[in-house]
Amino acid sequence: MAAVMPAPSQSRLLLSGNEAVARAVWESGCKVAAAYPGTPSTEMLEVISTYPDIYSEWSVNEKVSLEVAIGAAFAGSRSFCCMKHVGMNVASDALMTLTLTGVIGGLVIAIADDVGLSSSQNEQDSRFWGRFAHVPVFEPADSQEAYEMTKLAFDFSEKFQVPVILRMTTRINHVKGLVTVGERVAHENADGFRKEPARWVMTPAGAGKRIPLMFERDKTLRAEAETSPLNSVDSGTDRRVGFVASGPAWMHVKESFPDAPVLKLGFSCPIPLEKIRAFAATVEKLVIVEEVEPLVETELKAAGIDCLGKDILPRQGELAPNVLKPAIAKLLGEPVPENLAKPAPVFPRPPTMCVACPHLGVYYTLAQIKNITISGDIGCYTLGAGHPWNALDTTISMGASMGIALGLDKGRGTADKDKRILAVIGDSTFLHMGMQGLLDIVYNGGNVTVLLLDNRAVGMTGGQDNPGNGRDIYGNPAPRVDFAKLVESLGVKKERIHVVDPYVLPKLFKTIRDEIKIPEVSVIITDQPCVLIDDYKKQKPYEVIDDKCTGCGNCVDVGCPAIHVTRREKVIKPSGKEVELQFVKIETSACTGCNLCVQPCAPEAIVHADLTKPIRLVKH
């Protein structure tokens, strides 16, 4: 992305939480920012990369991004890294020792929890990391707060020499609100890196001496939380129920119960126990509204503060007004508000692969092959588990397709003795955490056929660059990984490595079928770009000749969203079997001519569209 002229100080801008954090990072004089893309955190770094005077990078994974930020903070500069919630699992190894060394330059880690599972494999509560790693957690509720708390977090981090977690959720990251922005203040560290092995080299002896210091710091942080203006009380007028809430849940409480007393936790770890105890004494019932785990609630109960929380509220998903209002009405013995109109029953509309996506060829092919188990991974290609392919059997975490495939191979029972094991992984996921797994398969003699789908982008998060496509975060040329050479150097035999075009179905089918028969590790690399990035070149679109379509439905099995069934007809075959014919049309205005549907069409009913005539939309 090209650098833009930042909006002047005092501008009032409509910013998402991610954009607000990016602005604050820049204004704080941060020198280094690093991340791996992940919904809903991605835009933070994307936007930071458009600001001047700050180095930003897409790192290969979240752990590396945190380590880059740690190095910069050790060097005395301000640094930032961000990730989605599951990214922190990867980065936590570094965090758990970083808490012992602490930092010199301010270090802020923004973690975006996907509460409500908009695009994630699980729903987890990153506030736990604050407790686990003994570091402070700030929780903004909207864009303005995200902006302000990011700036405060840098100052706080530097003052107490501790990394600060900025805990966000989808309902801040992706909500736009008005933010009044300020000036950038440069932050130069004149001293440079100070050699201090007792602090920076964490041997058992060194770490043993730092642990008591961490506990001392806990006391200081707790005292800070007790007096922090980020933890504020709105005394309200209706004392029947008082609330302790943080993040967007606080907004929902204020919206739902405008007269209720509310203690807002902005600095939520360590919790300001005495402040909450005093607040609890002023209300008849105390309800803790937190997304998603009963974390504050459990700590309060352990401290002998009587409260309710997950006993009356759900443990999953967002605590929006339509959840809170009935729960509190019930608590007060009031009539539960009539729940409104019920939604009309409408078919689901799950996400699909794009028109002409190169993965379509891969899954169309895998769906034709019998007696296989397919270990999948995190990315657009996870959608291969869906219709019409049903060609992906497991998904756990980034890079897990490799180890799980090896485990499926080594752990197979007699029922699976003839099963072929495949793994499917994308280019960026492979570089993130898949390489180590492949090395493990090679080293331990696994019998796995790996499909490495190289589409030259981090597709699911919007086509970000990575070391596999030869561009850095600014779009500048960068060294490009040669996947064939890389897997060969990990020990895959040269004759077991194939690079194939996923749009050429017969070759793809033959390569996969041949390789799964060979009882050793093979890697089949597909090499066509994601259709959402500039590397993709559209071809001439297709249309269906109605008179030639026999309704066989072979093209429908490709799964391209530009192919529509416009008529169904039941016929009895000579064998007496009833089959349903599916007559199709192609949405020519959406087709980009990948040619995948043409290949299984026996009657040659799919031809290039006549572009001299106006394109008509398919009518249903």
Binding site: H174, M251, A344, C380, V565, H620
Partner: protein, 207 residues
């Protein structure tokens, strides 16, 4: 009860139709008039043909960004079945502005689910007002199906608590900055959407 000072507009459709951009333009118009604004989406994998619903709330001060079911003042549906899916979000008797185009997902094409027979009748049977027109055909007749979201913005123009000119200016400002060659065409799309909605309203009232 919903705060009467807050206007709640829900814009729904499918990833790739420009729902989020349309709502953002609407938000900019509200900001230009001095409102506080919050805009939020439920857009799982928005670029992947999934459901997109964009909530816009504006007024003196907006807290929660989400519209409660049964409290939306206006529902703008970029697709027929999506209008039906979300109509329960409207306040009783509320207004739906709808593009009648049917965008059929693969799960319907392969026969796992049926597309609702008559989403328009279903919406009306629930007591909502409905003004429906084919925004995609209008966009295509102007030469580019991507003008659909400007057509839909034009259709909203006479149902907002501010003058249509403010909304049009928000659209044109955006194109002047990014694609000046598209300014005139977008103005046409806006007016065409506005006219189509008026005609649909007239049809409903005289039916």
């Amino acid at each position: 009860m919903p705060d009467s000072n807050i206007t709640n507009i829900l814009v729904v459709g499918i990833g790739g139709q420009g729902v989020m951009t349309a709502t953002e333009i609407l938000a900019e118009a509200a900001i230009a008039l001095g409102h506080d604004v919050k805009k939020t989406e439920v857009a799982g994998m928005a670029q992947r043909g999934g459901v997109v619903s964009s909530h816009l709330r504006f007024g003196p001060r907006v807290l929660s960004p989400q519209i409660m079911p049964g409290t939306a003042d206006l529902l703008v549906a970029f697709e027929a079945a999506e209008g039906m899916r979300w109509c329960h979000m409207l306040r009783p008797g509320g207004l739906v502005l709808m593009n009648t185009a049917r965008l059929v997902p693969p799960v319907v094409d392969i026969g796992l689910y049926d597309y609702p027979e008559d989403p328009l009748a279903e919406i009306k049977s629930r007591g909502y007002q409905l003004h429906a027109f084919d925004a995609m055909e209008i966009a295509l007749s102007l030469g580019d199906v991507r003008l659909g979201n400007t057509v839909m913005l034009g259709a909203m123009a006479d149902h907002l608590p501010f003058p249509a000119g403010v909304l049009l200016e928000s659209i044109l400002k955006r194109f002047r900055a990014r694609k000046p060659q598209m300014v005139e065409l977008n103005q046409k799309a806006f007016e065409a959407g506005r006219a189509a909605e008026k005609a649909a309203q007239h049809e409903e009232e005289t039916a």
